[in-house]
Amino acid sequence: MLELITAIIKPHKLDDVKEALLANGVEGMTVTEVRGFGRQRGKTENFRGSEYKIDLIPKMKIEIVVAAETADHLIAVIVEAARTGKIGDGKVWKMAIDGLTRVRTGEMGSEAI
């Protein structure tokens, strides 16, 4: 069984999370630049002398496909590495996936991770 873990984290925490995951046996990941808000509810910037509110703050989205049994541990690893304790630290969720294939070899299932 495989799970897809999705984590939304602060951009400057990317290196830390990546290293923590590598240290915990993760062998691949996919990263996307996203923007979002949650409790943090945006912040104030200024342009040409006026302030304005931006709702959507830059974040990084990390996606990793992992064996189901390691998922909760890895989520804990991510949470620990990504935490600053300040608002805007992000979310992590997981979902079941029905099948995985490695393009290069055509291997399937957990072989393909």
Partner: protein
């Protein structure tokens, strides 16, 4: 030496750095190397093409004309280069979806302006005629060797060099306008109003102040408006045409103003905007010092260049510091607008004031720009680039400042603050007001008509899709072009 051919002289190494001699007795002749002035048609010849007659004379006037013309042309090139600055500033301050539109407008306005100014704009502005309009030199016909203000004052500048310099000014005025109309002006509408601005409004009103016999030079008993390089003629006018355009168009869809809980959308690329601003500053060194029309006026061009610099510097710092308490940040956009305001303001007085005055004029201009942007925002007018505040309002301040700060040594009476009387100041205020009102009025009428023809404002769908795709068929950026043969 007399009687020697140019060729033999130049072939003689010992004389390569020869000095014309005036040895006692009668000077029979001064032999001048005419080669350089005989045009390059000959330069590609593989043989000697001419010899200088003995007894040729020194063309002092040629030295002067050549030097002035070179100066004015180089200045014209710098002013032309301001187009790149405007394009970058306007594009950088715009949103991603309207960038091509901004760029293309500036390019096409330049093209249009060149042809219009050649056909009749220059004739209206710098041809002799009456106080209201000139009507000489259509299609540059009837041009003389140098431009002479209808015989009043020989500039010593070759006619077509003078034309180019003035074209570059006209082009600036028209580009300023587009800045306040970013993001919702249909391209056809842009073409139409640009013809009106470059071909008629700018040259005709410009004639009043700068043309030979313009009426604003003759009113008020000889104390007329002095606008050295165009705080009124180019900037106030550009700013108020821009204002008319922005008012007639209305704001961009979804634009919420400060008092309605919104604010100006941030520019999409501040790197480009900042470089554009610095290019404008650079180009201003053509705008102001070039307006002496002469590099012989060595003290004058030095003074103008230094005053220009000091006012820009003061304007940038003043604007930045003025908004700091408000936003608690070192706002780059306002710093750029601030130094541009300083440059606009010093444009009229740069020749007539000393360095201290230039600093003061710049400081005030920086604040004027900030307050002006606030005012325009408060009036719910959508000016994405700040053209009205930077060019319109700082242009007013700059024109007035001649009457306040002129040091009395360079052809304008002492300013009020240096102990002069108020006559000059009132002439500045009056002249500037005429320019502002006339250009606003004329532009408002033009814009209204184009708006009523349904050509000025792009359709709602087009605006939401973005001007770039809707009007120009292409976004500014195709990052996906990294990966695929075509657009993704």
């Amino acid at each position: 030496m007399d009687g020697m051919t140019l060729k033999s002289r130049l072939g003689d190494k010992d004389r390569q750095r020869f000095f014309v001699t005036f040895l006692g007795g009668k000077l029979i002749g001064i032999v001048v190397a005419f080669a350089a002035i005989l045009g390059p048609g000959q330069l590609i010849l593989g043989k000697a093409v001419h010899a200088v007659a003995p007894n040729a004379e020194i063309p002092i006037q040629d030295v002067i004309n050549g030097q002035n013309t070179a100066w004015v042309l180089l200045a014209a090139f710098l002013v032309f280069f301001m187009q790149a600055g405007f394009m970058m500033l306007e594009a950088g301050f715009a949103r991603t979806r309207e960038v091509v539109n901004v760029l293309q407008e500036c390019i096409v306005d330049t093209c249009l302006c060149a042809l219009l100014f050649w056909a009749f704009g220059f004739a209206f502005m710098f041809g002799f005629g009456n106080g209201f309009i000139g009507h000489e030199f259509f299609f540059l016909n009837g041009a003389q060797a140098t431009y002479t203000y209808h015989g009043a004052t020989d500039t010593g500048v070759a006619f077509m060099a003078f034309f180019l310099f003035q074209f570059a000014f006209a082009d600036t005025c028209s580009t300023i306008t587009s800045g306040a109309m970013v993001g919702r002006t249909a391209f056809k509408g842009d073409l139409i109003y640009s013809v009106a601005v470059s071909g008629f409004i700018y040259p005709i009103i410009g004639h009043w102040v700068w043309g030979p016999g313009g009426w604003l030079q003759t009113v008020r008993n000889g104390v007329w408006i002095h606008d050295f390089a165009g705080s009124s003629v180019v900037h106030t006018m550009g700013g108020f045409i821009a204002l008319a355009g922005a008012i007639v168009l209305g704001p961009r869809l979804g634009r919420k103003f400060k008092r309605d809980g919104g604010g100006l959308p941030p520019g999409h690329d501040l790197t480009i905007a900042a470089i554009g601003g610095v290019i404008l500053w650079f180009g201003w060194y053509g705008f102001n010092p070039g307006s002496t029309l002469s590099s012989f006026d060595a003290a004058g061009i030095g003074r103008v260049a230094t005053n220009t610099t000091l006012a820009a510097a003061a304007g940038g710092l003043a604007a930045m510091l003025w908004v700091y308490p408000r936003v608690k940040k070192w706002d780059m956009g306002i710093t750029i607008n601030g130094f541009l305001g300083g440059l606009v303001a010093i444009t009229a007085p740069c020749y007539y004031v000393n360095a201290t005055a230039a600093v003061i004029i710049g400081l005030v201009a920086g604040v004027v720009v900030v307050l002006g942007i606030d005012l325009i925002e408060h009036m719910r007018i959508d000016d994405p680039i700040g053209a009205v505040a930077v060019h319109g309002f700082a242009g007013i301040w700059g024109t007035w400042s001649v009457g306040l700060f002129s040091n009395g040594k360079f052809g304008v009476p002492k300013g009020l603050l240096w102990g002069g009387d108020a006559k000059q100041l009132w002439s500045q205020v009056w002249g500037n007001a005429v320019v502002a009102v006339a250009s606003f009025g004329a532009a408002y009428a033009v814009m209204k008509v184009v708006m009523m023809m349904k050509l000025l404002r792009v359709s709602e769908d087009g605006e939401l899709e973005g001007m770039d795709i809707h009007e120009h068929g292409s976004p500014a950026y195709h990052p996906e072009a990294a990966y695929t043969g075509k657009g993704m």
